[in-house]
Symmetry: C2
Subunit: 376 residues, 2 copies
């Protein structure tokens, strides 16, 4: 790998929406980008070459899961996460903090960090900003995330403020711990709940510290979509225009489109693969619940005009059958189909010579979140 | 599809071992052949194109499962099993009888057939020789099997004899029901347990009726391998040399090699995929239990010299991790790896100009059934 720097180029804008490119020694990340989630060193139900064939430029790994199994030091001995998972393109890892708070047992958070017990074997662990960076470096992550504290909404203002200020102090410690890692990046995470003053304070203080990119955290944690968009309306303008912006843990297709309009460049979410494992297929016609009995005798494919062969090839009746019979291939196909659809959503970025509103316009017909009422 | 006939060509023999080719309108089946089992219209954990890439010329479908879900008439409406499962090469279906006896509830067998209740929804069904053929024809099976009664060993001689004679009567009814189906085949099934007189009687009576191929049933049902081989020793010589011979539900690699030596041409078994889902990998070095802790930090692939990329590419530590974390990719990879190994075992058939004993010799170093004690 060359010692090429991590850099971001903003290629075009249309109102808030941005078209860009992140350069890393492991390859370019075209933005807006959706990062498939490879929680435990695998995007669930998919071969790594399938993920690459989707057009995904980067995947996400979860520090919490990987630090517990196989363990960060062991992963480093084995050559790092890229080698382990046979994924040679960029990887972003989260800090582990969010999943400690949602999955681990006996969590205790203080100024220093968060101690917890593994949900797998009950072993004790301590995650500090420094240890999180150390783990992410051992994993070999191209983009690392600061440790932060994420508060579920709704929450008391005092609680949101306390967590935001702690996150800023952890951001500084994370940056110091990260040091200089040529070709690698560290992102800060804006917190502040649904409060404009706190969000702006967080954005400004993080910008003062200086990061390779900025994430918006603490959203998609229980609030309505309108609240999330409202927070983005005042938060993204407070972020540097020359750095990538990442909305963490989001979301459904219309969340992505609304966030792209509001200046977000990167996304990750388990939703497409999880929905696939539950029999929900994302298509141009909306979400299709393939387990519904009306698909039992439907010999049509999901979308005869899809660029994705799996959407054109297999009968709805077959997908229905596979899911009803709990056959692995059902989850495999619907995970691939949904991630392909998410990548297609991001494909309008490929219109490099066009305004990004073409993307928004192109994708507007997508009706997300409800069963399509008529299909051709 | 052309109206090409179903035919078998015996290309070479070496003592008992045979090298041959079955021609069907959907393509050739090179023998000896291992048929991956696609119970519910899917080889578990594999895309159909992966199965084809293994070199498999034919897969097996289970009539019992498919008649219950999605149902034979529905499958026919949807275009048949090949279209449904997106597998265009030949398919063999069993008669359903074996799985009725092992999976269904409230089974009642009489001269006419076997009535039972579905293990899925409790619905009542009747499987007769005629209905089994009707279902297999609706599914579109290239090779169909007569309904038979299979007795678990050890068993009383009178019971073995009764079931064998019933199976012969059902064979006749099956042939009548099958009628003339150009390009399709019907196989009879030799029964008779571990009794030579009964096996020979069965083989002779079935040969008199006349089938496109002959299966040896009622083995791998609890008896030692030596018993199975002994039964083959006297059964296969009683079968016509100009028709393919199929040993049902067998087996592990050394079962296959021993049976090939004794004149068997075709096999099916769920073992390679089931073993894969349980973390057992078949390799030239023997069976590797990848969940064993000694693989936790082993960065070596399963077999650096394997023709199968998945064997060369992924670290043992990664496969170990995937299985411990219950990740689908673990079962997917080990299913592919085991089926690839089974196909490799059959590949020596590709030595068309060589004696088949080269195959046997080539494959002798395989140590099956025990954990390899040393690996390179």
């Amino acid at each position: 790998m060359s010692q090429q720097e991590f850099s971001f180029e903003l290629k075009n804008t249309d109102n808030g929406a941005r078209l860009g490119n992140i350069s890393t020694p492991r390859g370019d990340i075209r933005t807006p980008a959706f990062m498939p989630v490879g929680t435990a060193a695998t995007v669930k139900g998919m071969y790594p070459e399938q993920v690459e064939a989707l057009g995904a430029d980067i995947i996400l790994g979860n520090t919490y899961h990987l630090m517990l199994r196989p363990g960060a030091e062991r992963m480093a001995k084995l050559g790092g996460l890229h080698e382990f998972a046979q994924w040679q393109k960029p990887i972003l890892t989260d800090s582990g903090g969010f999943q400690v708070m949602s999955l681990a047992k006996l969590r205790k958070l203080n100024e220093n960090g968060v101690s917890f017990k593994s949900h797998i074997d009950g072993s004790s662990h301590l995650l500090t900003p420094e240890r999180s960076i150390e783990i992410q470096t051992l994993l070999g992550a191209d983009i690392q995330m600061q440790l932060d504290e994420c508060v579920a909404l709704p929450a008391d203002l005092s609680e949101i403020k306390r967590a935001m200020e702690l996150s800023v102090r952890w951001a500084e410690r994370s940056k110091t711990a990260f040091g200089t890692q040529p070709g690698h990046a560290l992102f800060g995470i804006v917190q502040g709940g649904d409060n404009e003053v706190l969000r702006l304070q967080s954005a400004n203080e993080l910008t003062d510290i200086g990061f390779h990119g900025y994430a918006v955290g603490g959203l998609a944690v229980g609030e309505p979509q309108a609240t999330m968009f409202e927070v983005l309306n005042y938060t993204t303008p407070a972020l540097p225009t020359d750095k990538p912006r990442y909305l963490m843990g989001v979301g459904k297709p219309d969340d992505l489109l609304g966030a792209v309009k509001r200046g977000i460049d990167m996304f990750d979410c388990v939703h497409p693969t999880r929905a696939g494992r539950h029999g929900h297929a994302y298509t141009r016609f909306g979400v299709i619940n393939i387990k519904n009995a009306r698909h039992k005798e439907d010999s049509r494919p999901l979308d005869v005009q899809s660029p994705n062969e799996n959407c054109r090839r297999f009968q709805r009746a077959y997908l229905h059958h596979l899911m009803k019979a709990n056959e692995m291939l059902g989850a495999m196909l619907l995970s691939q189909i949904n991630l392909a659809y998410y990548q297609e959503l991001m494909q309008a970025r490929a219109l490099q010579s066009q305004k990004t509103d073409m993307m928004i316009t192109l994708l507007k017909p997508v009706r997300d979140g409800k069963e399509a009422t008529s299909t051709p």
